[in-house]
Symmetry: C2
Amino acid sequence: MPKGLEHLFNPKSIAVVGVSDKPGKLSAIIMESLLESGFPGMVYPVNPRHTTVGGQRCYQSIEAIGADIDLAILAVPASEVIPVLRNAGGTVKSAVVISGGFAESGAQGIATEKELAALARKSGLRIIGPNCMGIFDTISKVDTFFIPGSRIRRPARGGLSIISQSGSFAATALDELASEGIGVARVISYGNMCDVNESDCLDFLREDVHTSAVALYIESVDDGRRFVESASRCSLKKPVLAVKVGRRDSGASAARSHTGALAGRYEAYKAAFRKAGVIELEGYEDFMCGCKAFGRGTSAKGNRVVIITDGGGVGVNLADLCESAGLKVVPVPDNVRERLASVFPPYFSIGNPMDLTGSATDDMFADALDASFSGDSFDIAIVAVLWGPPGLTDDLPEMLAQKAMLFGSKPLIICSPGGDYARGRAGLFRRHGQTVFATPEGAARAASILARSAEMVKRRVKKDG
Amino acid sequence: MPKGLEHLFNPKSIAVVGVSDKPGKLSAIIMESLLESGFPGMVYPVNPRHTTVGGQRCYQSIEAIGADIDLAILAVPASEVIPVLRNAGGTVKSAVVISGGFAESGAQGIATEKELAALARKSGLRIIGPNCMGIFDTISKVDTFFIPGSRIRRPARGGLSIISQSGSFAATALDELASEGIGVARVISYGNMCDVNESDCLDFLREDVHTSAVALYIESVDDGRRFVESASRCSLKKPVLAVKVGRRDSGASAARSHTGALAGRYEAYKAAFRKAGVIELEGYEDFMCGCKAFGRGTSAKGNRVVIITDGGGVGVNLADLCESAGLKVVPVPDNVRERLASVFPPYFSIGNPMDLTGSATDDMFADALDASFSGDSFDIAIVAVLWGPPGLTDDLPEMLAQKAMLFGSKPLIICSPGGDYARGRAGLFRRHGQTVFATPEGAARAASILARSAEMVKRRVKKDG
């Protein structure tokens, strides 16, 4: 594990510096989140301008607390960050610096950030930020994301961890995952990365037993070689997904390449991802699909997809999408066809895609999934339910969820496109633990990501064998 | 206008054949829809097994009505379709044949469908179907879509018309558009197209004053030359968008190419679309984006996009997406930059994308849009609102809508990604007439479709000049 990161991800004591009485202030929201999240350790408010905050004693400085502080959360003006940390000396082990006004804001900020980086290097203090949202962690119950839960919902505990250079991207993803009923383990918004960067986080999450998959949002990487090493080691143990944005920003990045940073050209990132066994994601939609696909702990063994639907057109569209995403829409084997022919109306065409037509019932969907998954013909099922047919009821989500449970190693991906009624039924699927997409494209993307992950695992086994 | 189609799209009298007393039966749902939609003409229930239906007199046959029937809607077994229409003789002008059991169901069905096609050709009777959902028309108030409104919502009146080979695709699109608050003019599910096909519909919609844009869903075209002609003529008057699915189905389609049908190869469709001035759509998501982009009567004059957001990461992602979709993310001109610098905090970077950061307020978004659209630098604005910043309130949607109204010829596309809170705010934007997407990709797709349409118009003007 990288040195000192345990203090960031498993702190026993936290100081919130710059804390305020005023509701709505960043530090007040952070204090509230820490109390609400059930963080079990000590939380010390620090602000020289207050003696109490919310009825609790407020300390003049970190050193005035008189105890070792594992994690200091700083929401103070940029100019105060270094004095606060310097004065605290050895009593602080790690810090999340929320404050902006550093390298992103011109010459003065760049100089201050260099000084902050030097302080971290010299003292061994590990710093996330500055200019970040910090940590949302369902394991340690640390939450420094300074947006109230009424605007950005927090997900429940899960196995997915997220590393994001952009705070707003991470917050938006968190919010969407929470609304989709997908849990997370650790979410890190690392901002300007004056100290802790994406590679440190990868090294930590590789060894983290609570993390089963990692998704990264990257704008730039400073040390390309280290990134490839860290990502390669992590992807040997768990799926690593990554999106690189700012692809066209070749000029600005080129200027940095002489410092040994990975070339800013998108093609270089693409090559690095491939080399490191990282599954590349295309953008926001793909990122969310990846999070949703792995967020429920699912994984696939291969890329053979069966498409089951009651909408002929959507089935054909899905077949197109799957094929162009590298999935195999293989034919239905004879024994499956025969088994289904005995229970389906004679005018059904039992192919792949399998079109249950407007005569579809809950049972037909369940039978089709059961028969398809029973042998060894398919690795993934996409079930696209169009809710028009009168034979479909609100029992369908539970019935499919139960069938899916019997085939634990074969993921079921639900597509429920349409308006209010379909969106309501999508909620039923989610309540039964299913991964749901509102469009054929979303379902195909998720299937493709799972299949690419399976491919990575196979390649690795071959290499090792 | 193609001969006889006015009876399908402007009928004064309708016979619903095969009508039943039982709620839930297709014909009962169609009867109900016709009554609910406010169809102003006469509606005659027909069924030899009933004398009354729902308290209304039921006729033994179409000819027993004793009046000319503009449109007969047939929801009877396949074997009864031809006898019903033959017996009705010249009293029926057009028909929608909902019934399945034709060419899609084997040799017997193929033979029956050929006979039905011959009947149409000889008698001049215009037939939509068989094996279709028929017509949903907010102008004539005809609704033969046989799924209750509780499952598939019907959109309000609008300018967009849809021509779809797949009924379930059309129904799902209708449902989603209704839930998004987008209106439609005429929606035609033409199924097996024994008579009326996509080209007939294009010819009709070209002259239809109620239709401002046309979106097509195509699986196959029988007469490629006619399609190119009809689409070319229509695209001269209004935007024509089309998605072709079943792209990999090269084998089956090739078998038909000797009959003069457009080659089944996807590349041939692609070329035909280009030749005909049709804007090609990629699949379901793109189709919905196109419908949403044109569904509010918007159009763009060019492809220069300004991206305004409070989420740095989403802004960078949007810039990537726009550039790779052929849009131009041009620099903010000096006068706009100066104007905004005088009202924005000094640490804002006023570029494109324009990042209003977590300090964003409603006013800043409105100012940014106002300044960007004031000159002639941008054709389209994408405003991506991440709802974290406390300075953003529920007034923002109305404020932006008012600004957008001042620049009627420059479309504003809203992106509101995230969970429940963001989805609620998206609803506010919709209520103020704005086109909203839940992802950066959706917004970029819509902008790209509008820009491609502008490009088509320019090319046409050049040609004509």
